[in-house]
């Protein structure tokens, strides 16, 4: 019988439209406007820093990762997100080093895509924060021409940044923490404040997140749980002690938006179960409030997410979904 040779595959023989690279590149696409906003506010410095961190990530993935891993888009996400958490005046070599660390020690050492415990971008950022605390907390003043560099972006590799190059300002959270002054809400929402590159574009981030949630590329429960927890806790605390900031300030200042929408929802490092997602978000929200209000640092989103990342294996284990035909819904 001269039949053509037929394929022999296991069922199911049809496949849904989603693919891992498609998810990853969609996230990258929604990050482009956020990067755009950063450039709009901070000028060419933003582009330099983000390119450096992204290049660091892509290069590490390309050199040490499995073949073709760059094409799945996950390293690009890490690079962009890392860049968005950095201050605009950071020397490019530091941003690149952060990218190398993020992919190398945050991802590849675990076996690459999907196997890491901590969010690589945040791990890279935490590494930079611990390694170069001063540079990572130098916030440039927003005045000056758009095209001017916001700091010594071009410092030679491994060399200190020139402190004269930066006209320092302060972030709303820093002002609140160390000087007790509030910042206008309008400026917070629109993003015309000092801070990290991605801290300032709340609206753009929310829009991107909403799109991803609609496509089911992120679990809406996590940001909702974080926002709700932060809002409720800080409103309550503000009520008891009016010297502490209110809910809206807490929501729109610092890296909460970027962290809650893009970092906490990283599929790999967040719980897979719906109940787990609620617990995870609640934990992050509570830790953010704790660290911001009573910790030694003005911002706590990064550490909160990293700490909850460490708890994810535990949460996943504790929140197994109810098996069909068990529990009170089953007829005994």
């Amino acid at each position: 019988m001269e039949a053509p040779r037929f394929e022999l595959t296991a069922s199911p023989h049809i496949k849904g439209p989603d693919s891992t690279p498609r998810i990853m590149w969609t996230v990258v696409a929604t990050l482009v406007p956020v990067v755009g906003a950063a450039v709009w506010y901070f000028g060419p410095s933003a582009l330099l820093v983000i390119s450096a961190s992204t290049a660091g990530c892509l290069l590490t993935e390309r050199v040490f990762g499995p073949g073709g891993a760059v094409r799945d888009g996950s390293a690009a996400i890490t690079g962009l997100l890392l860049g968005l958490t950095l201050p605009p005046g950071l020397p490019m070599w530091m941003a690149g080093l952060g990218g190398v660390f993020a992919i190398g020690f945050g991802k590849l050492v675990f076996g690459g895509l999907g196997q890491n415990i901590f969010n690589p971008a945040l791990l890279g950022r935490a590494f930079l924060q611990a390694a170069f605390p001063e540079d990572l907390t130098t916030w440039p003043d927003m005045s000056g021409p758009w095209s001017a560099l916001r700091g010594d972006n071009l410092a030679l590799p491994l060399m200190s940044a020139d402190p004269v190059a930066t006209v320092t300002g302060a972030t709303p959270l820093g002002l609140m923490k160390f000087e007790g002054t509030d910042t206008e809400l309008v400026r917070l929402v629109l993003g015309s404040t000092g801070g990290s590159l991605g801290e300032t574009a709340a609206v753009v981030i929310l829009l991107g997140g909403a799109y991803l949630a609609l496509k089911k590329y992120l679990d809406w429960r996590i940001p909702v749980a974080i926002f709700a927890t932060v809002a409720l806790l800080s409103a309550l605390i503000h009520l008891l002690d009016p010297s502490k900031p209110g809910a809206l300030f807490m929501l729109f200042s610092g890296g909460l938006m970027l962290g809650a929408v893009y970092m906490a929802t990283d599929m790999v490092t967040s719980p897979t179960t719906p109940r787990g997602a609620w617990i995870f978000g609640f934990g992050i929200g509570a830790l953010v409030v704790l660290i911001r209000l009573w910790g030694g640092l003005p911002e706590g989103v990064m550490y909160s997410i990293l700490l909850m990342n460490a708890l994810v294996p535990f949460i996943d284990r504790a929140t197994k979904p109810r098996l069909f035909g068990t529990g009170k819904e089953a007829m005994a």
């Binding site: 945050g106 050492v109 690459g112 901590f118 611990a130 640092l297 706590g300 460490a310 294996p313």
Partner: protein
């Protein structure tokens, strides 16, 4: 009260015994493969730490003012014998508990967290109650680190870890990352 709470939180999170002070690393590396075992090890540690703290307070108050050079020797002797006695008592009173914790107790005697607690407590001049809170915080911190590490390690068991990182290399990187995350607690409640 606020100070006691601070001692507790500090020993547990800010200056976590394992991740920041490097105390009790042997169990942290050795007994963190399974969550159930790690939890038992942690509980046994809390237990021994509390006893040690009480013993150290007693020694500091009544014995050591007269012979400070005997400090180290008397600490280690008292801790070792106390653990021995407790072990025997548990064996007698609650065989179940002994089965759960028993094998870990002798291991703990030569665990630096225990002696470290006694020494830190002495150096910082904690009184009896402060010492107890310090011991409890330290024990909880140790248990937290152990259980976190164990649950992570159980997960990475299913990961495609490259050959060069299998074993302790990965565990140390994980410990470093955890330690990095715990830096977020720096300065908590200090102001």
């Amino acid at each position: 009260m606020a100070e006691l709470l601070w001692i507790l939180v500090s020993a547990m999170l800010v200056n976590n015994f394992t991740l920041v002070l490097f105390l009790g690393l042997c169990p942290f590396m050795g007994v963190s493969g399974r969550v159930a075992t790690a939890l038992r090890m942690g509980l046994a540690n809390i237990f021994v730490l509390t006893i040690t703290s009480m013993a150290a307070s007693f020694l500091n108050a009544f014995v050591l003012p007269y012979a400070p050079y005997l400090r180290l020797i008397s600490f280690i002797v008292v801790i070792a014998s106390l653990v021995q006695i407790v072990e025997m008592a548990i064996k007698k009173l609650s065989p179940t508990l002994f089965r759960e914790l028993g094998i870990f107790l002798p291991l703990i005697t030569t665990n630096c967290a225990i002696l470290g607690l006694a020494i830190f407590q002495t150096n910082r001049g904690y009184d009896f109650v402060q010492g107890l809170f310090f011991a409890l915080g330290g024990g909880l911190g140790l248990t937290l680190a152990l259980v976190l590490m164990a649950s992570i390690r159980e997960t990475t068991e299913l990961a495609d870890v490259p050959a060069m990182a299998r074993g302790m290399g990965l565990v140390l990187i994980l410990a470093g990352s955890l330690s990095l995350a715990f830096m977020g607690f720096a300065g908590l409640f200090s102001s």
